[in-house]
Symmetry: C2
Subunit: 228 residues, 2 copies
């Protein structure tokens, strides 16, 4: 990955920027910097002032909130071409979530002032941002309800299928998160995550060695997800 390449040639540029002119893209480019964040590194921290618009170009990151008992909950994972903190970047003073890299990742940090300038000067761009925010929040809300309305087997099936279809585009992959983090994603205990994974293995739904998973019976897994 080439650091600080020009936005115009960026393969990972989101459609969000489609409405910007060459000149405007140039302006953005001059007001951004690209950064490598090592696995485990912190991208934004809850409580820190929001000064930048953060965009993920490579890697995988988790966005989590801290419950009152100090228990962590993972609200969502972000992939390349996702924005980090888009929901609050224009509306809050401080970050509400911790965002950390699950694998080595690259982020672009665009100065918030220049984004504000683009928004107020380019009406089509701002309409697109509004659409984006609406879609993202809708997805998060729907996803949260989906998880909470399923039993534990359904929840595990849900994230296994999601990992396979949305993240790795393969039936076999290495889990990028620990059992504990899986539990934080779908509101259950690590013990039960393990228990149900073992159960799925016993039943021949998946094969499992450490973090390596292969889905052997996708149809049944999807059924469990949908009926759970």
């Amino acid at each position: 990955m080439e650091l600080n390449q020009h936005c115009q040639n960026c393969k990972f540029r989101s459609h969000l920027f489609d409405k910007l002119s060459e000149e405007e893209l140039n302006y953005i480019h001059k007001n951004k910097k690209t950064q490598l964040v090592k696995k485990g590194g912190i991208i934004t921290k809850s409580g820190d002032p929001i000064r930048e618009f953060v965009y993920l170009t490579e890697g995988l990151v988790k966005m989590q909130k801290i419950g009152r008992n100090g228990k962590e909950q993972i609200v969502s994972l972000a992939r390349p071409m996702d924005f980090i903190g888009l929901l609050s970047v224009f509306s809050r003073e401080k970050y509400e979530y911790n965002v950390t890299a699950l694998v080595d990742s690259f982020v672009c940090r665009i100065s918030l002032d220049s984004m504000r300038k683009m928004v107020s000067e380019n009406g089509l761009f701002s309409l697109d941002i509004i659409k984006f925010i609406g879609n993202i929040s809708g997805e998060i809300i729907k996803h949260t309800y989906a998880i909470n309305s399923k039993n534990l087997r359904g929840r595990i099936a849900l994230i296994l299928v999601d990992f396979s279809e949305k993240f790795f585009h393969s039936q076999a992959f290495d889990l990028p998160i620990s059992r504990k983090e899986m539990a934080e994603m779908i509101d259950m205990t690590p013990e039960n995550v393990i228990r149900i994974l073992s159960e799925f293995r016993r039943d021949g739904l998946i094969s499992l060695r450490g973090k390596h998973i292969e889905i052997l019976n996708m149809d049944l897994l999807i059924k469990i997800r949908d009926l759970g």
Copy 2:
């Protein structure tokens, strides 16, 4: 309530419209109509095409989604000065939620095209909309997590305190919703709603006659909400 009064003089106008000029407000006014919706009446229906920007000026409405088993879930209640479906109005083709009036209510329906025009022409207005959407979605997400992380007593305490503090500004009020609807708001069964309300009454936390509630021990109720 006077029907179709001019936006400029509307006491219930949201701060969202602060950035509009007199001329722009006039334009909005010409492209809106005010409507009375009787208790139980439908304001938007899931699946219907979105053609208007809906704004609540008086009353109380519930926004609900239908789960796959046909079970209804109340995502949020809206009060005067709230927007209805703001999260999806610019980003989706069709409504995702049913919105119905809990009491006789007034809504303003502003043509979506004229809103789009204002957004793309007035940068400060669009920045405000972005802020609004960010805030609302943040609140909904936070609220959803709050409910799901609490035990049943904590959930009941939560909505009782919310009704008292946010909606009625009084320790005594008439519940605007049935026990079943309370259950749909906080993801539990009507039986358990009733059980815990009865328990709170036995313990002297509240007095309860039908839909009339009076909170007798707010401090303890808040403790139950926060520790639940």
